[in-house]
Amino acid sequence: MFLVDDLLVKPFLSLLDILHTMAVDEMYDTDAIQDDIKENRLLYEIGERSEEEYQQRKQELETQLEMAQQIQEQMRGRIEIKQ
Protein backbone atom coordinates (compact mmCIF):
# COMPACT_ATOMS: atom_id res chain seq x y z
CA MET A 1 0.00 0.00 0.00
CA PHE A 2 2.82 2.32 0.93
CA LEU A 3 4.51 1.56 -2.36
CA VAL A 4 1.35 2.31 -4.36
CA ASP A 5 0.91 5.63 -2.56
CA ASP A 6 4.47 6.53 -3.30
CA LEU A 7 4.16 5.72 -6.99
CA LEU A 8 0.93 7.64 -7.29
CA VAL A 9 2.23 10.76 -5.58
CA LYS A 10 5.74 10.87 -7.02
CA PRO A 11 4.88 11.75 -10.63
CA PHE A 12 2.71 14.61 -9.38
CA LEU A 13 5.50 15.84 -7.16
CA SER A 14 7.93 15.78 -10.06
CA LEU A 15 5.52 17.63 -12.29
CA LEU A 16 4.88 20.17 -9.55
CA ASP A 17 8.60 20.55 -9.06
CA ILE A 18 9.09 21.22 -12.74
CA LEU A 19 6.22 23.70 -12.88
CA HIS A 20 7.49 25.43 -9.78
CA THR A 21 10.99 25.69 -11.16
CA MET A 22 9.63 27.07 -14.44
CA ALA A 23 7.50 29.63 -12.60
CA VAL A 24 10.44 30.70 -10.43
CA ASP A 25 12.71 30.97 -13.48
CA GLU A 26 10.18 33.11 -15.29
CA MET A 27 9.46 35.29 -12.30
CA TYR A 28 13.13 35.96 -11.64
CA ASP A 29 14.31 36.17 -15.24
CA THR A 30 16.10 39.52 -15.10
CA ASP A 31 16.55 39.70 -18.90
CA ALA A 32 12.80 39.33 -19.43
CA ILE A 33 12.09 42.02 -16.83
CA GLN A 34 14.63 44.33 -18.50
CA ASP A 35 12.80 43.75 -21.79
CA ASP A 36 9.49 44.65 -20.12
CA ILE A 37 11.07 47.86 -18.81
CA LYS A 38 12.18 48.78 -22.34
CA GLU A 39 8.78 47.88 -23.77
CA ASN A 40 7.01 50.02 -21.16
CA ARG A 41 9.22 52.98 -22.11
CA LEU A 42 8.63 52.45 -25.83
CA LEU A 43 4.84 52.22 -25.44
CA TYR A 44 4.96 55.47 -23.48
CA GLU A 45 7.10 57.15 -26.17
CA ILE A 46 4.70 56.18 -28.96
CA GLY A 47 1.72 57.36 -26.92
CA GLU A 48 0.07 54.01 -26.23
CA ARG A 49 0.64 54.36 -22.48
CA SER A 50 -0.17 57.45 -20.44
CA GLU A 51 2.42 59.04 -18.16
CA GLU A 52 0.54 57.67 -15.15
CA GLU A 53 0.35 54.13 -16.54
CA TYR A 54 4.01 54.31 -17.55
CA GLN A 55 5.18 55.46 -14.11
CA GLN A 56 3.08 52.87 -12.30
CA ARG A 57 4.27 49.99 -14.49
CA LYS A 58 7.85 51.24 -14.28
CA GLN A 59 7.74 51.18 -10.51
CA GLU A 60 6.28 47.65 -10.50
CA LEU A 61 8.93 46.39 -12.89
CA GLU A 62 11.80 48.03 -11.03
CA THR A 63 10.65 46.43 -7.78
CA GLN A 64 10.34 43.09 -9.59
CA LEU A 65 13.83 43.49 -11.05
CA GLU A 66 15.37 44.33 -7.70
CA MET A 67 13.73 41.29 -6.14
CA ALA A 68 14.82 39.04 -9.02
CA GLN A 69 18.40 40.25 -8.74
CA GLN A 70 18.43 39.55 -5.00
CA ILE A 71 17.00 36.05 -5.52
CA GLN A 72 19.50 35.31 -8.29
CA GLU A 73 22.27 36.51 -5.99
CA GLN A 74 21.04 34.24 -3.18
CA MET A 75 20.74 31.29 -5.55
CA ARG A 76 24.30 31.84 -6.77
CA GLY A 77 25.44 32.03 -3.13
CA ARG A 78 23.71 28.74 -2.32
CA ILE A 79 25.34 26.99 -5.27
CA GLU A 80 28.76 28.27 -4.24
CA ILE A 81 28.31 26.97 -0.68
CA LYS A 82 27.41 23.51 -2.02
CA GLN A 83 30.57 23.44 -4.12
Binding site: Q34, D35, K38, E39, L42, E45, I46, E48
Partner: protein, 212 residues
Protein backbone atom coordinates in the same frame (compact mmCIF):
# COMPACT_ATOMS: atom_id res chain seq x y z
CA UNK B 1 32.94 72.64 -2.24
CA UNK B 2 33.00 69.39 -4.20
CA UNK B 3 35.30 69.18 -7.23
CA UNK B 4 33.40 66.29 -8.83
CA UNK B 5 32.80 66.55 -12.54
CA UNK B 6 29.93 64.87 -14.36
CA UNK B 7 30.92 64.13 -17.97
CA UNK B 8 28.73 64.08 -21.09
CA UNK B 9 31.10 63.59 -23.97
CA UNK B 10 34.41 64.44 -25.62
CA UNK B 11 34.92 66.78 -28.57
CA UNK B 12 37.82 68.34 -30.45
CA UNK B 13 39.42 71.01 -28.25
CA UNK B 14 37.10 73.98 -27.91
CA UNK B 15 35.97 76.19 -25.04
CA UNK B 16 32.29 76.95 -24.67
CA UNK B 17 29.46 77.08 -22.20
CA UNK B 18 25.92 75.92 -22.86
CA UNK B 19 22.77 77.44 -21.47
CA UNK B 20 20.95 74.19 -20.75
CA UNK B 21 20.16 72.32 -17.53
CA UNK B 22 22.50 69.42 -16.85
CA UNK B 23 22.31 66.25 -14.76
CA UNK B 24 21.19 66.77 -11.13
CA UNK B 25 20.02 70.31 -11.89
CA UNK B 26 23.46 71.60 -12.93
CA UNK B 27 23.11 75.13 -14.33
CA UNK B 28 26.53 75.41 -15.95
CA UNK B 29 27.70 73.16 -18.76
CA UNK B 30 31.31 73.87 -19.70
CA UNK B 31 34.43 72.26 -21.11
CA UNK B 32 37.63 70.95 -19.55
CA UNK B 33 40.61 70.68 -21.90
CA UNK B 34 43.21 67.96 -22.14
CA UNK B 35 45.68 68.19 -25.04
CA UNK B 36 43.60 68.27 -28.26
CA UNK B 37 40.34 67.27 -26.57
CA UNK B 38 37.69 68.98 -24.53
CA UNK B 39 35.33 67.16 -22.20
CA UNK B 40 31.84 68.58 -21.78
CA UNK B 41 31.12 68.59 -18.04
CA UNK B 42 29.04 70.02 -15.23
CA UNK B 43 29.57 70.09 -11.47
CA UNK B 44 27.94 67.42 -9.32
CA UNK B 45 28.04 66.48 -5.64
CA UNK B 46 28.68 62.74 -6.10
CA UNK B 47 30.72 60.40 -8.27
CA UNK B 48 27.87 57.88 -8.36
CA UNK B 49 24.72 59.68 -9.46
CA UNK B 50 21.46 57.72 -9.24
CA UNK B 51 19.90 56.87 -12.57
CA UNK B 52 16.47 58.43 -13.03
CA UNK B 53 14.47 59.20 -16.18
CA UNK B 54 14.94 62.93 -15.60
CA UNK B 55 18.71 62.62 -15.28
CA UNK B 56 19.06 60.40 -18.33
CA UNK B 57 16.97 62.91 -20.25
CA UNK B 58 19.17 65.78 -19.02
CA UNK B 59 22.29 63.84 -20.08
CA UNK B 60 20.83 63.30 -23.56
CA UNK B 61 19.60 66.88 -23.88
CA UNK B 62 23.07 68.27 -23.15
CA UNK B 63 24.59 65.92 -25.73
CA UNK B 64 22.00 66.96 -28.32
CA UNK B 65 22.83 70.62 -27.67
CA UNK B 66 26.53 69.88 -28.18
CA UNK B 67 25.77 67.92 -31.36
CA UNK B 68 23.90 70.90 -32.78
CA UNK B 69 26.09 73.64 -31.31
CA UNK B 70 27.02 76.30 -33.84
CA UNK B 71 26.36 74.20 -36.94
CA UNK B 72 27.20 70.88 -35.30
CA UNK B 73 29.98 69.20 -33.37
CA UNK B 74 31.27 65.64 -33.40
CA UNK B 75 30.95 64.02 -29.98
CA UNK B 76 32.29 60.83 -28.44
CA UNK B 77 29.51 60.26 -25.91
CA UNK B 78 29.99 59.12 -22.33
CA UNK B 79 27.45 56.69 -20.90
CA UNK B 80 25.10 58.03 -18.27
CA UNK B 81 26.62 58.22 -14.81
CA UNK B 82 30.30 58.90 -15.52
CA UNK B 83 31.44 61.33 -12.84
CA UNK B 84 35.03 61.93 -11.71
CA UNK B 85 36.44 63.00 -8.38
CA UNK B 86 38.34 65.95 -9.82
CA UNK B 87 39.65 67.55 -12.99
CA UNK B 88 42.96 65.84 -12.29
CA UNK B 89 41.32 62.40 -12.20
CA UNK B 90 39.46 63.10 -15.43
CA UNK B 91 42.66 64.17 -17.19
CA UNK B 92 44.45 61.09 -15.92
CA UNK B 93 41.77 58.90 -17.54
CA UNK B 94 41.85 60.91 -20.78
CA UNK B 95 45.62 60.48 -20.93
CA UNK B 96 45.15 56.70 -20.87
CA UNK B 97 42.45 56.81 -23.54
CA UNK B 98 43.91 59.49 -25.81
CA UNK B 99 44.89 57.23 -28.72
CA UNK B 100 41.52 55.51 -28.80
CA UNK B 101 39.79 58.89 -28.51
CA UNK B 102 41.77 60.36 -31.39
CA UNK B 103 41.00 57.44 -33.65
CA UNK B 104 37.31 57.42 -32.67
CA UNK B 105 36.88 61.16 -33.20
CA UNK B 106 38.45 60.80 -36.66
CA UNK B 107 36.19 57.86 -37.52
CA UNK B 108 32.94 59.56 -36.53
CA UNK B 109 33.80 63.06 -37.75
CA UNK B 110 30.69 64.83 -39.07
CA UNK B 111 28.26 62.04 -38.20
CA UNK B 112 25.21 61.57 -35.99
CA UNK B 113 23.29 58.50 -34.88
CA UNK B 114 19.60 58.08 -35.66
CA UNK B 115 17.37 55.44 -34.09
CA UNK B 116 14.59 53.66 -35.97
CA UNK B 117 12.12 51.33 -34.29
CA UNK B 118 9.19 49.98 -36.26
CA UNK B 119 6.29 48.28 -34.50
CA UNK B 120 3.24 46.40 -35.61
CA UNK B 121 -0.07 47.92 -34.50
CA UNK B 122 -1.47 47.22 -31.05
CA UNK B 123 -4.33 45.15 -32.54
CA UNK B 124 -1.85 42.41 -33.43
CA UNK B 125 -2.17 42.68 -37.24
CA UNK B 126 0.73 40.95 -38.96
CA UNK B 127 3.04 43.13 -41.07
CA UNK B 128 3.25 42.72 -44.84
CA UNK B 129 5.73 40.08 -45.84
CA UNK B 130 9.22 41.37 -46.60
CA UNK B 131 8.58 44.79 -45.20
CA UNK B 132 11.63 44.70 -42.91
CA UNK B 133 14.02 44.11 -45.78
CA UNK B 134 12.38 46.77 -47.97
CA UNK B 135 12.59 49.41 -45.28
CA UNK B 136 16.03 48.59 -43.93
CA UNK B 137 17.59 48.29 -47.41
CA UNK B 138 16.30 51.74 -48.20
CA UNK B 139 17.70 53.25 -44.99
CA UNK B 140 21.00 51.41 -45.32
CA UNK B 141 21.62 53.20 -48.63
CA UNK B 142 21.42 56.54 -46.84
CA UNK B 143 23.70 55.66 -43.96
CA UNK B 144 27.39 55.04 -43.41
CA UNK B 145 26.89 52.19 -40.99
CA UNK B 146 24.15 50.50 -38.97
CA UNK B 147 23.69 48.27 -35.96
CA UNK B 148 20.96 45.76 -35.29
CA UNK B 149 19.49 46.19 -31.82
CA UNK B 150 17.52 43.82 -29.65
CA UNK B 151 13.87 43.12 -30.57
CA UNK B 152 12.76 43.33 -26.95
CA UNK B 153 9.04 43.00 -27.65
CA UNK B 154 7.12 40.84 -30.14
CA UNK B 155 5.68 43.95 -31.72
CA UNK B 156 9.08 45.24 -32.83
CA UNK B 157 9.95 44.28 -36.40
CA UNK B 158 12.87 46.71 -36.82
CA UNK B 159 15.19 48.14 -34.17
CA UNK B 160 18.26 49.68 -35.73
CA UNK B 161 20.68 52.52 -35.18
CA UNK B 162 22.11 54.30 -38.22
CA UNK B 163 25.30 56.29 -38.49
CA UNK B 164 24.47 59.13 -40.83
CA UNK B 165 26.49 61.97 -42.27
CA UNK B 166 25.21 65.20 -40.75
CA UNK B 167 24.65 66.56 -44.26
CA UNK B 168 22.46 63.56 -45.11
CA UNK B 169 20.16 64.06 -42.14
CA UNK B 170 17.40 65.81 -44.12
CA UNK B 171 17.41 63.06 -46.74
CA UNK B 172 17.15 60.42 -44.01
CA UNK B 173 14.29 62.35 -42.33
CA UNK B 174 12.45 62.49 -45.67
CA UNK B 175 12.91 58.74 -46.21
CA UNK B 176 11.39 58.05 -42.78
CA UNK B 177 8.41 60.28 -43.65
CA UNK B 178 7.93 58.41 -46.92
CA UNK B 179 8.11 55.03 -45.19
CA UNK B 180 5.56 56.26 -42.63
CA UNK B 181 3.19 57.34 -45.40
CA UNK B 182 3.68 54.16 -47.40
CA UNK B 183 3.11 51.78 -44.48
CA UNK B 184 0.69 53.78 -42.41
CA UNK B 185 -0.45 50.68 -40.50
CA UNK B 186 2.97 50.51 -38.82
CA UNK B 187 4.20 52.65 -35.96
CA UNK B 188 7.58 54.31 -36.42
CA UNK B 189 9.57 55.53 -33.43
CA UNK B 190 12.29 57.73 -34.95
CA UNK B 191 14.75 59.30 -32.51
CA UNK B 192 17.85 61.45 -32.62
CA UNK B 193 20.12 62.94 -33.49
CA UNK B 194 22.24 61.16 -30.91
CA UNK B 195 25.99 61.07 -30.59
CA UNK B 196 27.14 57.75 -32.12
CA UNK B 197 26.75 55.61 -28.97
CA UNK B 198 26.44 52.43 -30.99
CA UNK B 199 29.43 53.15 -33.20
CA UNK B 200 32.15 53.94 -30.69
CA UNK B 201 34.04 51.37 -28.71
CA UNK B 202 35.78 53.14 -25.87
CA UNK B 203 35.35 51.78 -22.38
CA UNK B 204 36.33 53.88 -19.43
CA UNK B 205 36.01 51.67 -16.38
CA UNK B 206 34.31 52.74 -13.17
CA UNK B 207 37.43 51.80 -11.22
CA UNK B 208 39.32 54.59 -12.98
CA UNK B 209 36.94 57.29 -11.85
CA UNK B 210 38.02 57.60 -8.26
CA UNK B 211 41.73 56.97 -8.76
CA UNK B 212 44.24 59.62 -9.53
Amino acid sequence: MSENLYTYGIIEKEDFELDVEGVAGADRIYTVDYKNFSTVVSDIDTTEPDRTDERVEAHNTVLQHVLEYDGGRTVVPMSFGMAFKSERTLKHVLRGARRALRSTLNNIEGTVELGVKILTPADGAAPQEGIQATVTDRLAELSINETENDLFTDRLIVNKSYLVDRDQRDVFDAAIDEIGAEYDELIINYTGPWPPYNFVDIHIGAEQRGGG
